[in-house]
């Protein structure tokens, strides 16, 4: 494959998408594990509400999510204004794209991890408790190792979703080449320009390859998780 198969601008978009997805997944993973554990194992008031909130980005029009992000995390927004004081600007930056991608991918991540936690026999956790392990240690020494493949599966799925996120991203951080123009935004832009269909087509192939690869990997990890918890 020749190096100029993708233009420098296209490469930039692919690289940016990978970077955005990587950080989106990495930063949201701890919260994702915590949320999944809470939904799978804890009984607390507001559990239903939390479950709904987590799943909301899956159902809301992405443009609405993006607009809500802009209202909250924009420079004038309640959280955004405060963050700007400590030197963090999200709106119209790649970091904002990562936030949008993280929120849109969160339901998929939590779902996969939650399923793997629910597959862990709680009686194993009881046994660990009777052997002297406090709840945090039970989680670290029993639950976590058993759900590790499930966590990886959730992370890979979320990564794929984050690469493909478009609606919320373009609403929140716009479509600035080299700064916030991710893979889907780049494809969208190419399609608006006459004569760039071939360029867009190549990006589409990249997107398909990344998505299928992630899906296959996630499936494989999920199966590994199932094998692990069912001796």
């Amino acid at each position: 494959m020749p190096a100029d198969w993708l233009s420098p601008a296209d490469w930039q978009a692919v690289r940016l998408s990978l970077k955005v997805a990587f950080w989106a997944v990495l930063c949201s993973l701890p919260l994702g594990i915590l949320t999944a554990h809470a939904l799978a194992r804890w009984r607390f008031p507001g559990r239903g509400l939390l479950n709904m909130l987590v799943h909301l980005p899956l159902i809301l029009p992405p443009v609405v999510t993006g607009y809500l992000l802009l209202l909250t995390f924009g420079r004038q927004g309640a959280v955004g204004a405060w963050l700007e004081q400590v030197g963090i600007v999200l709106a119209f930056r790649w970091t904002g794209a990562a936030l949008a991608a993280a929120i849109m991918a969160f339901p998929l991540m939590v779902r996969a991890i939650r399923l793997s936690i629910e597959a862990v026999d709680p009686r194993l956790e009881q046994a660990a408790a009777t052997l002297g392990a406090r709840p945090a240690w039970v989680f670290v020494t029993v639950t976590l190792p058993l759900i590790l493949p499930g966590i990886l599966a959730g992370a890979v799925l979320a990564f794929a979703k984050a690469i493909g996120e478009f609606g919320a991203t373009i609403t929140f951080v716009s479509n600035i080449p080299g700064q916030t123009q991710t893979l889907p935004s780049a494809i969208y832009t190419r399609l608006q320009v006459p004569g760039a269909e071939a360029q867009a087509g190549r990006l589409v192939l990249v997107a398909i390859a990344l998505s299928v690869g992630a899906l296959v990997l996630s499936e494989w990890l999920s199966r590994a998780a199932a094998r692990r918890v069912a001796p």
Partner: protein, 350 residues
Amino acid sequence: MSLSVRIDHTWPGFALSVDVTAPPGVTALFGTSGAGKTTLIRAIAGLLRPDRGRIAVDGRVLFDSDRGVNLPPHRRRVGYVFQDARLFPHLSVRQNLLYGRWFAGPGGGPTLAQITDLLGIAPLLERHPAALSGGEAQRVALGRALLARPGILLLDEPLAALDQPRKAEILPYLRALRDATDLPILHVSHDPQEIRALATTVLRLEGGRVIAQGPPDAVLPLPLDAGVTLRATPRDGPGPGQWVDTAAGVLHVATRATGPLQLRIAADQVMVATAPPAGLLGATVLPARVVEQADGLLRLAVGTTHLLARAPQDPALCPPPGCAVHAVLLRDPTVLDATGRATGSPSQTD
């Protein structure tokens, strides 16, 4: 070391109310399913919070509703061996064994080598739980509980999921464990044979209450089929019942028949007297000799056959094998029909 438990716990359709102490050694919790055995040991382990009461091991209070004490399971130092071994599938046998030791911290208690020797699991150390047989897994679970340095051991039907050969394989290890430690061991079981093999004391639970407490032979019910079946030939004589000839001697039955009969003499109907009894109206007394004692029963040689009788509750009162005694039949034997079932009530006549 000892355990004292006094708890009340109610939920819809069931109430548990017990007040018991268990000395070092094996105390069996015996009862049908739903009697409250597992509820009781879950409460001791802290996996269930009783409504009221107090639980203490060796003076250490684990739970006291009056004083608001309720230690979480990980601070109770209770070794719990579950019916399903519950080994951690992602850890090797060695890591499983040492899991609790890590939390118990350094100092005292049996070593890994002592435990693996005691339970015969040294060759399994590098294996994973998935590669163990049911009996091996249960021995590893036992070792894991012991290495956590518990103050008491709770065995929740650890043999129930195993077949007879596997049970026979583990029982010697449990006996060795009982003799090697001064831990109180609570052993939940509904298998009288298993209890006789292990326990010094039996608590019999029924409907959430302790209905009997004592040595196994005194507390355990006799096997349902304890008793003997004899062939009988009727003699002529006045009714309503009649005398019959049997291998055990001449007996009286309440029914009348012309042909041969099958009689059933349950162990519960036979009492043993060491001196010739006098003045027992309606009872038949036969000369007998003690053959052996097992499972709460005495086997007696009577006539040219054997009869079974319930052994005395105090083992010291039990006549030794070979001792001449008198078998007292408290009731007339039950007459069986051709299919081996008892015929109508004994007062009926044909």
